[in-house]
């Protein structure tokens, strides 16, 4: 019997070795799931190029585990259900080892079930509303406590804001973020009548009423600030209207979570000067790593005017971490890489260290920058240290008891600490 077992075991070992040999000739495949057409193409094409740049870079260094990395680029065309289809195609047909992709939350939610079903691995590089933690996704963008909450703290403590206007585009990210912010502000003793919330459709261009309302809301003598989750090109007419109605950044400052270097590039930013944005990275941050990254990017893309932005840094960190985790695990197998990822630390571009935590979120520094006339940001405030991303907000009653921990004893994305049960599957 023992002998028989030994034979079985050795044959298994042999077969795995053979299959390993068989794979050795093949490339490691990286799927890129970013929209290259449609409304989101403006933002997502940049991230596709970033991934391709990182892959070229890694191949120039000799590849990974002795193999070349090969990119498989697909175009989900800003069409949310297509993200699921293209994700399935990448995992089932192309058999990619990892996916870098998605921008909007709705596209992530669309591809998520496919990733869980086929046990894929995806890196998601954009700031988002939280309230999610999947075993198959690593979130390298900011959670609300790494962007929205520190931004509000800055306005409250350094600018002295007492009255709050929460303006947003009408979809899931602004609605959830504003819900968290409202709860947070109320917990800080802000009265409900000092908070004004307003949602507008995508591409809204007639801001007369809303700006007039903000102006009126801000004329009661208490310092008023606007927290903007307005997305996309609706921002430009909004800031223009603010300027025209004579609302300056000194009177009513606006802090935005979706306006970065890329969105401002090529635009006349005079009406925006002095307004703010909160991110984990700005192109203007003066470190050696950043300088090198910017130089590489401009060289790769062949255009000296191209800018870098926060989701690009998140992509950069995600890719570097994945490479390190694969090297550590010695394989691209999803389960092994997933466990190897936790605890991986690599230098970020702003002079700190990014660490992947057990909840699949990063530790990141938070910066507040003021918009300058040249479309860049000047950092006016930063957290003293990195902040650990919190998947489940502590300020929402539905999620305050939930934590995410993908390491051994818990291994759950939504573990309820009160009932000590994993609420999901």
């Amino acid at each position: 019997m023992k002998f028989k077992k030994l034979i079985v075991a050795s044959s298994i070992v042999a077969s795995t070795m053979i299959s390993n040999f068989a794979f050795a000739a093949e490339n490691i495949k990286v799927g890129v799931l970013h929209s290259l057409s449609g409304t989101m193409a403006i933002s997502e094409t940049t991230l596709k190029d970033t991934v391709l740049m990182m892959i070229a870079d890694q191949n120039a260094k000799g590849g990974l585990l002795g193999k070349k990395i090969e990119a498989v680029v697909v175009d989900p065309a800003s069409n949310w259900p297509l993200f699921a289809e293209k994700g399935r195609e990448l995992l089932a047909k192309d058999k990619v080892d990892v996916i870098f992709g998605s921008w909007t939350s709705v596209s992530r939610k669309s591809v998520l079930p496919v990733l869980e079903e086929l046990d894929g691995l995806m890196f998601y590089p954009v700031q988002y509303e939280g309230e999610e933690s999947s075993r198959n996704i690593f979130y390298t963008g900011a959670a609300p406590n790494q962007q929205a909450i520190p931004a509000v703290d800055y306005l409250m403590n350094d600018i002295g804001a007492k009255r709050w206007v929460l303006l947003g585009t009408d979809y899931v990210y602004p609605r959830t973020t504003n819900k968290i912010l409202e709860a947070y502000l109320l917990s800080k003793g802000v009265k409900p009548e000092d908070i004004m919330v307003n949602y507008t459709p995508f591409g809204h261009s007639d801001w007369q009423n809303i700006v007039a309302d903000v102006k009126k809301f801000g004329s009661t003598g208490k310092k008023t600030a606007v927290v903007s989750t307005i997305n996309g090109d609706a921002n430009i007419p909004f800031y223009k209207e603010l300027g025209n109605q004579g609302v300056s950044a000194e009177d009513i400052p606006v802090i935005a979570f979706s306006v970065g270097e890329e969105e401002l590039s090529g635009f006349d930013t005079t009406p925006l000067v002095g307004h703010m944005a909160a991110w984990n990275y700005f192109q203007s941050i003066d470190t050696e790593e950043n300088e090198e990254f910017i130089a590489n990017w401009k060289k790769y893309i062949g255009d000296d005017k191209r800018v870098t932005n926060d989701p690009m840094e998140a992509t950069y960190i995600g890719f570097k971490m994945w490479v390190k985790a694969v090297e550590k695990a010695g394989t691209t197998d999803v389960d092994a890489v997933e466990q190897a990822m936790i605890g991986i630390a690599i230098p970020n571009l702003t002079g700190g260290i990014a660490v992947m935590n057990s909840n699949h979120h990063l530790s990141k520094p938070v910066f507040i920058g003021e918009i300058q006339a040249d479309g860049q940001f000047e950092v006016v405030w930063s957290t003293p240290d990195t902040v650990i991303g919190d998947a489940w907000s502590n300020y929402l009653p539905s999620s305050k008891d939930l934590i995410s921990d993908w390491t051994a004893p818990v291994s759950c994305g939504n573990f309820n600490i009160k009932t000590a049960k994993c609420s999901g599957k």
């Binding site: 350094d158 600018i159 507008t200 009423n209 809303i210 004329s219 003598g221 025209n244 004579g246 090529g266």
Partner: protein, 546 residues
């Protein structure tokens, strides 16, 4: 003799005193400058959150250089040399190159690259603080406009130093408008800390003032006085004053909404008026109408790119250019496609829809799918302040006037010119017009060109309000059809009334409903209206209607 002697002594004495005075100020000035220099040294090492008290101290030295230094800091042009921390006034000359002058002596220094200097950082709050400090110093400026602004700023953010100087300056202020505002500032102060009688006097000064700061002060005073006694004279005066201000506030709020509504209406009018000709007069359903506007907006962009130094006049140049470009494209579409589909509305609709997609893709290929930036000339930005709570933004104001101008000139063309006569003849009875030797196919082409050209002009106006991108036209095409149908097909006056009605309705609903719901309600209302009166507000009557 004695009198003379005493006069002499007096003169001598007064001269002596004056000289002493002079010496003393010189000494103070010197002292101020040394304190200033030592305070300035701290600037490069001070963190942003410790900056406010330092700036306060700098201002308090009242050395003569202070205003210039604060202005430099506010403009973000205060830098220091990394090597020796010398403070400099830096101005960017070209990419990464800076011209420097010494901050205190204004002596020119050799130019450097950006790596040799570092900016003294400020933020919103500090710039606001500097603004307040500077406006205190401007309270006795020579230019009355600057003085007025300074007093206004003081009213918004009162501070002790400013109020003290206003108390001194008030009686000697030559301009009555500024003096009035100064007494408002003082009255607001009295309302905070004064005797009952003083407060009452203050209330009578403040009654009828519309500045938000006044209302806030009154409300605060009322809150405090009701705590003391309910029915005192002061309480009654206060609540009376507040009521009056609120009444006026409501009135201006309505005026505000009316203006917003008219401005939205004028945008609708501009985009619909071209359609009123092609659809209303000729009966062609032109789905590419929005793209004609888009072409107009892109023409503005091209004009601005071609003449980058003439931004101020770019819009005036763009109006005829956009008319020609869109008009020509319109004529080509009419000659090339639409005339072969006469009397087949469904096919015209599909064909023009196809054309709209082709034009969008064309623009994408030529200009990139990203939005293009069209700059606003100086005269289009800012607002006309009627009073502290009511102002009209210039860009909207001009567009309202522009829309009306376009409307009336079009009306003139149709009513008074021979072209207009021909257009009306062909649209009323094509066969009869042809029998009277009117070249109907030529008239069709020109009419379509005219409608498209006007859409191009609308595009110039829209480039100032919204993003110029390939999808610009799509956002307006539905609204344009709605306006034309609502107003009554074939009736220009109907288009005017319909556009203004829809715009105003929308803007009055928006504050309570939100922009999305307001749109929906307007749409539903419109559908119901069309059910009741299928021919719109002003249907054509008589034989021409057939």
């Amino acid at each position: 003799m004695l009198r003379l002697f005493s006069l002499l002594v007096f003169c001598l004495m007064s001269w002596h005193v004056a000289a002493d005075d002079h010496l003393a100020t010189a000494g103070n000035e010197q002292q101020a400058e040394t304190t200033l220099a030592s305070l300035l040294k701290q600037l490069p090492n001070t963190k942003l959150n410790k900056m406010a008290p330092l700036i306060k101290k700098i201002a308090a030295t009242s050395a003569p250089q202070v205003p210039a230094i604060l202005e430099t800091l506010q403009a973000g042009e205060l830098y220091y040399l990394k090597a020796n921390k010398q403070l400099v006034h830096a101005q960017r000359t070209q990419h990464k190159k800076y011209d420097l002058t010494d901050l205190l002596s204004n002596a020119p220094l050799p130019s450097v690259t950006s790596s040799a200097i570092k900016k003294v950082r400020t933020n919103n709050r500090i710039r606001r603080q500097i603004g307040d400090l500077l406006s205190n110093m401007e309270l006795n400026a020579k230019d009355p406009a600057i003085r007025l602004e300074a007093v206004k700023q003081l009213l918004d953010s009162p501070n002790k130093v400013g109020i003290k100087s206003v108390t001194l300056l008030h009686d000697n202020e030559p301009q009555s408008k500024i003096r009035e505002l100064m007494s408002v500032v003082l009255a607001v102060e009295q309302l905070k800390a004064g005797t009952e009688a003083e407060k009452l006097a203050a209330v009578s000064i403040l009654t009828g003032r519309l500045e938000p700061a006044v209302k806030n002060a009154l409300v605060k005073a009322l809150d405090n006085s009701t705590a003391l006694s309910d029915k005192s004279e002061l309480t009654r005066a206060l609540s009376h004053a507040i009521d009056k201000i609120e009444q006026q506030g409501d009135l201006y709020q309505i005026a505000d909404h009316l203006f917003f509504g008219l401005s939205l209406g004028s945008v609708l009018l501009l985009s619909a008026i071209g359609l009123a000709i092609t659809f209303g007069v000729m009966g062609v359903i032109n789905m590419a109408h929005g793209e004609m506007m888009m072409l107009g907006a892109y023409t503005t962009y091209v004009i601005q790119q071609t003449f980058p130094t003439l931004i101020e006049y770019s819009l005036l140049m763009a109006i005829p250019a956009a008319f020609v470009v869109s008009g020509l494209v319109g004529i080509i579409i009419e000659r090339g496609v639409i005339r072969f589909l006469k009397g087949r509305p469904l096919e015209t609709l599909l064909a023009t829809f196809g054309i709209s997609l082709i034009l969008q893709q064309l623009v994408r290929t030529i200009f990139s799918p990203l939005n293009r930036q069209v700059e606003a000339p100086q005269w289009m930005s800012g607002s006309l302040d009627i009073n502290p709570i009511f102002s009209l933004t210039y860009n909207r104001l001009y567009i309202i006037l522009f829309a009306l101008m376009v409307f009336f000139s079009l009306l003139m063309i149709l009513k008074k010119s021979s072209l207009g006569l021909h257009v009306r003849a062909v649209s009323q009875n094509r066969d009869m017009a042809r029998a009277l030797s009117i070249k109907s196919s030529w008239v069709d082409a020109i009419t379509f060109g005219l409608g498209s050209g006007i859409a191009g002009i609308a595009g110039v106006a829209l480039s100032q309000l919204t993003n110029v991108g390939p999808n610009l036209g799509q956002a307006y095409i539905i609204d344009s059809f709605l306006v034309v149908v609502f107003g009554g097909v074939g009736n220009l006056w109907g288009t005017l009334v319909a556009a203004m009605t829809l715009g105003t309705f929308n803007k009055f609903l928006e504050p309570s409903m939100g922009p999305v719901l307001a749109n929906i309600i307007v749409l539903v209302g419109l559908i119901l209206f069309i059910q009741k009166r299928p021919k719109g507000l002003f249907p054509q009557k008589g034989r021409a209607a057939e």
